[in-house]
């Protein structure tokens, strides 16, 4: 459950919204435990349920994705209550993460934060491993671009390297 909470927090940032997501995922998991095959990794299964709950939330509620200035200031307040890492880094990082599309954010977080293999990540998200690979890579490029302040338009953050 701590890892589920961490993943949810990294997806939606706000503690209360994230815990709602965890709550939904837990309830679904407990309802559907019959579908759980013991040979599967429990965490992967739970993350997959959380992923679907997240997507449902996106469809239902735009607050998961839209990063507007008001929200950024709310977020700043929330972060201020969170001691630890230095403020600018956290703000930048969360803001940059918020600019990634969910399609990029999820695989990046699963691979970096949760340290899943690409195969596990593919299983969680229900996409091919090759797609995981390209999405993680694009997410990295986009995140870096956002942190470098190069991406003003969130929709234009996918910068391909030209070689």
């Amino acid at each position: 459950m701590p890892r589920l909470r961490r993943y949810a927090r990294s997806l939606v940032f706000d503690t209360a919204v994230a815990d709602d997501l965890v709550q939904t995922a837990l309830e679904r998991a407990l309802q559907r435990w019959r579908q759980f095959e013991p040979q599967r990794e429990l965490l992967v299964w739970l993350l997959a349920i959380a992923h679907h709950a997240f997507l449902d939330g996106l469809r239902r509620d735009a607050r998961f994705t839209v990063v507007d200035p008001q929200e950024a200031s709310d977020r700043q307040d929330a972060l201020a209550a969170d001691p630890g890492v230095d403020m600018p880094l956290r703000l930048d990082l969360v803001a940059a993460l918020g600019r990634l599309s969910p399609e990029q954010r999820e695989p990046l977080l699963l691979v970096t934060l949760e340290q899943l293999s690409y195969a596990e990540c593919a299983e969680v998200l229900g996409i091919p491993i090759g797609t995981v690979m390209s999405r993680v890579s694009r997410a990295r490029v986009a995140l870096r671009a956002a942190l470098d302040g190069r991406a003003r338009n969130p929709q234009a953050t996918v910068l391909r390297r030209v070689v």
Binding site: M1, P2, R3, L4, R5, R6, R9, S10, D19, V22, Q23, L26, E27, A29, L30, W33, R34, F36, L42, L43, L46, D82, G84, V85, L89, R90, L93, V94, L97, L109, V111, T112, L113, S117, Y118, M133, S134, V136, S137, R138, R140, V141, L143, R144, L147, R160, R161, V163
Partner: protein, 291 residues
């Protein structure tokens, strides 16, 4: 060595430890010769570390009561308590990142009766386990490992019928061979207000586990639970007319696997009076250092 510029995807995968050893070695060598791209990968690594630094503290936050309650309620099962209890436990320990504080919470809030309390029937089950499992000469009252195969089958049937009659509940001789345990036999025991029974199983290394059976008080219903007292752990549950505990000095996961097998066999519909151990074809003579 491949001198063409690797795709970002490949460098990113390299950073994540993906790909074959050969691919990884090639990319590593390539990065050593291309400092600009290596710097880019280092930035990615820095972003990764920053993400972890930002979100890892969530792991150490106390769990909100609402979430604990969800797991707790889910753990109080309806039809297959063992699975939900196991899952509830799994939810709390997923990834093995459980701190001591959380363990305490789990024990304190989710499962207040972790220790085996004296005077309870699970305590009697644990004591019976401790008393009889070290026994060399007379570990059981009715042995099912003496004589030839036919005699053993006869003893199994006798044991099941006898205990069923005395406990006034259907007693099956559980088949735990898939988990590596062979039935040794069983005995009748005094419980608080009536009889109980103990079935003993042993694996190839001589490790023994026992199943304690009793008819619970009317209306008793206890979801699948785990208790531990020192080295002895037990999984137990009680339903209308049927109380069962699996006791052993084994890691929790192994006990769970055994308890799960017992639970499944209790639940599965069987022909009354046909003990489980007598249903499969006779096995090749088991090696049992029994006296």
């Amino acid at each position: 060595m491949n001198s063409t510029h690797p795709h970002d995807d490949e460098l990113s995968a390299w950073l994540d430890g993906q790909g074959s050893a050969e691919q990884r070695a090639q990319l590593h060598a390539w990065l050593l010769e291309h400092p600009e791209q290596a710097a880019q990968v280092r930035l990615w690594a820095a972003d990764r570390d920053a993400l972890r630094a930002r979100f890892d503290p969530v792991l150490h936050e106390p769990l909100p009561e609402a979430l604990l309650a969800t797991v707790r309620e889910g753990g109080r099962a309806r039809t297959w308590p063992w699975a939900q209890a196991a899952m509830a436990a799994g939810l709390l320990v997923a990834g093995g990142l459980l701190g001591a504080g959380l363990t305490w919470q789990w024990q304190g809030q989710v499962n207040a009766v972790q220790a085996i309390a004296p005077g309870t029937w699970t305590h009697r089950a644990a004591v019976a386990h401790a008393v009889y499992t070290p026994e060399v000469k007379h570990p059981v009252e009715v042995s099912v490992v003496e004589g030839n195969a036919a005699e053993q089958r006869a003893q199994e049937q006798h044991l099941a019928r006898w205990l069923t009659k005395r406990l006034d509940m259907p007693v099956r001789l559980f088949d735990l061979r898939a988990q590596g345990f062979e039935l040794v036999g069983g005995r009748l025991l005094p419980d608080a207000a009536g009889p109980s029974a103990q079935l003993m199983y042993q694996d190839g290394s001589g490790q023994r586990v026992t199943v304690y059976l009793r008819k619970p008080e009317a209306g008793t219903r206890t979801a699948f639970r785990f208790q531990r007292d020192g080295e002895v752990g037990l999984f137990y549950w009680a339903e209308d007319g049927y109380g069962c505990a699996l006791v052993g000095n084994l890691p929790r996961e192994r006990l769970l696997a055994l308890a799960e097998a017992v639970y499944r066999q209790v639940e599965s519909a069987i022909v009354p009076g046909a003990p489980a151990a007598s249903v499969p074809a006779p096995q090749p003579a088991p090696i049992k250092p029994m006296s």
